[in-house]
Amino acid sequence: MTAILDLSAVELRDAISRGELSAVEAARAYLAAIEKTEPQVQAFNEVHADRALGRAAQIDADRAAGKPPGPLAGVPLAVKDNLCMTHGRTTCSSKMLADFRAPYTATAVAKLEDAGAVILGKTNLDEFAMGSSTENSGFRPTRNPWDLSRVPGGSSGGSAAAVAARQCAAALGSDTGGSIRQPAAFCGIVGLKPTYGRVSRFGLVAYGSSLDQIGPLTRDVTDAALLTRAIAGHDERDSTSVPRDVPDYLASVDKPIEGLRVGLPGEFFSDALDAEIGAAIRAAAGAYESAGAKLVDVSLPHSRIDRDADGKLSSYAVACYYIVAMAEASSNLARYDGVHYGHRTAGKVEDIVELFSRSRAEGFGPEVKRRIMLGSYTLSAGYYDAYYNKALKVRRLIQNDFDRAFEACDVILAPASPTPAFRLGEKTSDPLTMYLADIYTISVNLAGLPGLTVPAALGRDGLPIGMQLIGPVFSEETLFRAARMYEQAGGVRRLTPPAMAP
C-alpha cells in the first residue's frame, strides 16, 4: 500500500498500464489514505468512493479486454468543488449551492476521465474561489498537512492539501489570482495556472471570467505536464478557449533548455518579501546559473510592491485585480437568486425583491458579499470610469511590462507568495492583508500568462517555500522544462509532510 502512495501520477499510470498494479488497488489505497487523514486535513467536501471503485474496475476490465490504456489510466485524482460533475454535488463550498447537482460535467474533468483518470471526490475551497486560505469555505476550513494549525492557502486549498497529504495522486484547481499557485506553494507541491484560453472553462463555476483558468496541482513537474496535456485544448462550448495545438508536454519535459534566460524582476525582491523566501529564490537562481542558464534583471514597474509609512504593502496589480475580479464576480454571482436553483429562503417573503435579497443574504458568506458589493460599486454609473475603466488601463500597462520583460528573458523567476503558510485565523480579521497573499501571483492572471509554482526549498520551521516561473502566453512547454531543470539541478522534488509520511 505504501508503495502505491509513493508513486507519481506518471508512475502509477505506467504501473497500471503494464498490469503491475490494478486501478482498483490504486483507488483503494487512496480511499484508505483519505479515510485515515481526512479527519485532520479536511480537504474533501465529498468523496465518491463507490463511483471511483466502479470506474477503476472498468479500467481494469478494459485493460484485460485488450483496450489500450489512456494516458491517465487508473490515476486517482481529486477535483476542486467549483468544477461541475454530473455525479454528486457541486457546491463551491457555499451554502448557496449546498445541494446543487449539475446536469453537465466540466470539459476539463470529462477530458481527465476520458484519459482514464479515476475521480475520488470534490475538494474544499474558499467560497466561490474567493480567498487565499480556504478559511472562507462555507463549510469548514482545510488544514495544511505540513502543520495542521496553518492554512493550506487558497482558494484551491482542498486540492493542494489533498495532494500534499497523499489523499490523491494529483488534483485539479482553478486560479483567478493565484488560487492554484499559492496553495501549491504553501503545501510544497507543483501547481500550474495555464495561459488564459489554454483550458476550457466550461463547467467551471465562474468567479472572475477574464482571469479564471483551470490547472493541475501535482507532486512533481512531470505530472503537471501529464495533466496539462490531458485538459488543454479548444472547446466549442467556451468561446475564450483558443484553437491551438496542444504540445506533448510530457515528451519534452526532461529536455533542459540550452541558454535559458531567467529574468529576475527587481520589483519582486523588495523588503516586502519574507527574507527566507527571498534567499531561497536567490539560491534557486544560483542553481539555474550553475545549470548553464543566464540570469537577467528585468523590470515590471506596474507590478511593483510598495510599503507605506505604516508598513502596509500596496501594489497597482492588487488594486487592479480586485476591481476587475470583483466587478466580474458581482455579475457572475447575480444568478444565485433563489428562483431557479440553489438556496431559497424558507422565510415568508412579501415580494420577489425580498425573495432575492433574503435568499442571497442567507446563502452567501461575508467575503462573497463583500466582493459582490465592491464589484457592483465599481461598475455603477459615475464610478465606472474612476474604477473599472482605470483598472482596465492598468491591466494593459501590466501586460505591456511583461511583453517588454520577455524580450530579454525566456522565463521570469519570482516568489509565489510573500510568506510561507500562515496560521488559521491569522488574517481573517483583515481582508486587505489577506488580499496581499496574492501579491506575486495576480499580475500573471491580469496578463493572461502561464505561471508555474514548484517547491524551492524547505524553510527553517519545516514549511515548504515555493517559487514561481512565469512565461509568455502559451509557453507552458518552456515552463515545464525550466522547472524540471531545477528539480534535476538538485532542487527539491516530491516533498512529503512528515505527518503524512507512511
Partner: protein, 494 residues
C-alpha cells in the same frame, strides 16, 4: 395672443424590438420556437446555470447585419458584447447579454411610404443585437410561473431618431420596418407571437407667442400591436397638450425630464409608472465570456450582395415597368416571395397586369383565409404564367381563371389540365355559341326590344343578354365571340 397662434409639433422616436427567426437561440443551441409548452426549449446555458458559457449564434449576427445594411447603416468592423444587469425572475442570469457602446449597426435611415403617397426619411440611430428574456406567467393566484422558452432568443433592437411628427408617420415607420424585416427573411414579424414590440418616446414642441415649449419626454414600454402603438401616440399627444395647458411653465422637459408610462389596452390610455431610482443603473460592462465580433469587408459585402432589391424600389419598378397602380404595386411588395412570384411569371412571358389581377384577386383572398402570404398560397410561377397566358389568349375567361386559380391552390396541377377537367376552357366554337345566343334572344324579348329600339337602356339590355349567354354556357363561352354573334343577330351597333 390667442390659442389659434399655437402650433403643436409632436416629436416621436421609436425603439422597435424584432425577434429574429434563427433556427436556434442567440447563445445556445436550443430551438427558437414560439408556442410550445413552457420550458420545453431550455438548456443549462439559457437558464443560467453555474459554470456554463454563451456561444454566439453567427446566423443571428448575419441577420442583424442584413437589417443594418438594408437600413443604410454603418456596420461596424469591431463590435462586442456587454452585460446589462438587472434582477428579474424571467432573466435567469440576472444580466442580459446586449451591446452597449459599440452596436453592430449605426447611423442609417429608412424611407417610409406615407398614406398620401409621399415618402419620409426616418433616421436610424443604432441597431444592436441582444438576447430576449423569458416570460412571467401570472395565471395562478398563488404564484407566478416563469417560461424560459423565449429566454435567449435573438432580439434586434432598432432605435430611430425622433424624426416622426404625427401618428400616421409613426405607424408608417413601424409598418415599413415590419415589411423590411420580413422582406429580408430575418423575422416573421408576427405581432401575435410577440416578434415585434414597440417603445415610443414622445413629447411635444409647442410654439406660442414666439416661444417654444417642450413637454417632458415620455417613454411607453412594451407595446405589442400596431393598434396599441397608434392609440398610445395619439393619447400622449392629447394628454401632454392638456397637461401643458394646465401648467405651461412647470410641465416642461427642463423641469420634469423623462417619464415612464405604461399602456392600458382596455382604456387606450397611458398611466404613470414609478421607476425605482436604481432601475436605470444597468452597470454595463464587456462580457468576458464572449470574444468581440470582427466584421471583415468581405463578410459585410457578401451579405450586402444577398439583400437585392428593397421593397420601395421594387414597388416603383412595378408601377413604372408593369404599369401597375400604386395600390397594386404596394400590395405585391409586402413581402419578397410574392413579388418574386410575379417577376418569375413575367419572365416566363406572361402579362404583368393579368398576373397581378390573379394574385390580388383569388390569391389575396385565399392568403387572407389561410393567414399566409400570397406567395405561400401554393401557386407556382410556372402555373401563374400559364394561366395568365391562357387568359390573354382568350382560352379562358376571367371567371374561369379564378376557378382554376382556386383549384391550383387546393390540388395543384397544370392550369390547362384543370381547365379541361373542369370544363372551363372557353368555347369559341361559333355553332355552339350561336345556339346559346338564339336561346337567350328567344327567352328575353323585352331586352331584345330594348337593344333594337336603341334607347337609353340599350347598353344595359345588351349587357344583360351577354350575361344570359355566359350563364347558359356555364361561363365557358369566349366573351368576344358572344359579343360578336349577339351584335350580328340583333343587328345592333353595340
Amino acid at each position: 395672443m390667442t390659442e389659434t397662434n399655437e402650433t403643436i409639433k409632436p416629436v416621436v422616436g421609436l425603439e422597435i424590438h424584432v425577434e429574429l427567426a434563427t433556427a436556434t437561440k442567440m447563445f445556445c443551441r436550443c430551438r427558437n420556437r414560439f408556442g410550445d409548452p413552457p420550458n420545453t426549449h431550455v438548456c443549462p446555458v439559457c437558464i443560467g446555470m453555474p459554470g456554463v458559457l454563451p456561444v454566439m449564434n453567427r446566423q443571428a449576427v448575419e441577420y442583424s447585419m442584413k437589417v443594418g445594411l438594408a437600413l443604410h447603416c454603418t456596420v461596424a468592423g469591431f463590435t462586442k458584447w456587454d452585460r446589462k444587469s438587472y434582477y428579474y425572475p424571467d432573466l435567469p442570469k440576472n444580466y442580459q447579454i446586449s451591446q452597449y457602446d459599440l452596436p453592430l449597426s449605426a447611423d442609417g435611415f429608412l424611407e417610409v411610404p406615407l398614406p398620401d403617397g409621399t415618402t419620409k426619411t426616418i433616421r436610424v440611430r443604432r441597431a444592436h443585437l441582444e438576447e430576449d428574456a423569458g416570460k412571467n406567467i401570472h395565471d395562478k393566484a398563488s404564484h407566478t410561473g416563469v417560461d424560459l422558452n423565449r429566454a435567449g432568443v435573438p432580439l434586434l433592437e432598432i432605435v430611430s431618431e425622433p424624426d416622426m411628427n404625427a401618428v400616421e408617420e409613426v405607424l408608417a415607420y413601424a409598418r415599413a420596418m415590419q415589411r423590411l424585416v420580413r422582406w429580408l427573411g430575418v423575422s416573421e414579424a408576427n405581432m401575435q407571437m410577440g416578434h415585434m414590440r414597440f417603445e415610443p418616446n414622445i413629447n411635444l414642441h409647442i410654439t406660442r407667442g414666439g416661444r417654444t415649449f417642450k413637454t417632458p419626454i415620455c417613454e411607453v414600454k412594451n407595446l405589442n400591436s400596431f393598434r396599441a402603438l397608434e392609440r398610445t401616440v395619439a393619447y400622449e399627444i392629447q394628454r401632454q397638450h392638456a397637461e401643458w395647458q394646465a401648467d405651461p411653465e412647470g410641465y416642461s422637459i427642463d423641469k420634469v425630464g423623462k417619464e415612464n408610462r405604461g399602456y392600458d389596452d382596455e382604456s387606450g390610455a397611458t398611466v404613470f409608472q414609478r421607476e425605482k431610482e436604481e432601475a436605470h443603473d444597468y452597470r454595463y460592462f464587456p462580457d468576458p465570456d464572449l470574444a468581440p465580433v470582427l466584421v471583415s469587408d468581405e463578410w459585410r459585402s457578401g451579405l450586402a450582395a444577398q439583400i437585392g432589391e428593397l421593397p420601395l424600389a421594387r414597388r416603383a419598378r412595378y408601377m413604372d415597368r408593369y404599369a401597375l397602380s400604386f395600390k397594386e404595386a404596394d400590395a405585391l411588395t409586402q413581402d419578397a416571395p410574392t413579388g418574386d412570384l410575379l417577376d418569375a411569371a413575367v419572365a416566363d412571358g406572361a402579362e404583368a397586369k393579368r398576373c397581378a389581377n390573379l394574385l390580388l384577386g383569388r390569391g389575396a383572398a385565399i392568403a387572407n383565409d389561410r393567414g399566409c402570404s400570397i406567395a405561400e398560397v401554393g401557386v407556382a410561377a410556372g402555373q401563374l404564367a400559364e394561366l395568365a397566358k391562357m387568359l390573354s389568349g382568350g382560352e379562358v375567361n376571367a371567371t374561369a381563371a379564378d376557378k382554376i386559380f382556386v383549384k391550383l391552390a387546393e390540388t395543384g396541377g397544370s392550369p390547362r389540365q384543370v381547365a379541361e377537367a373542369e370544363g372551363l376552357l372557353a368555347v369559341s366554337d361559333a355553332g355552339q355559341i350561336s345556339a346559346w345566343v338564339d336561346q337567350a334572344i328567344a327567352a328575353n324579348p323585352k331586352a331584345v326590344e330594348d337593344v333594337r329600339s336603341g334607347g337609353k337602356s340599350q347598353k344595359k339590355a345588351f349587357g344583360f343578354l351577354m350575361g344570359q349567354v355566359m350563364r347558359l354556357s356555364g361561363g365557358a363561352a369566349a366573351p368576344a365571340e358572344v359579343q360578336r354573334l349577339l351584335q350580328q343577330k340583333l343587328g345592333s351597333g353595340e
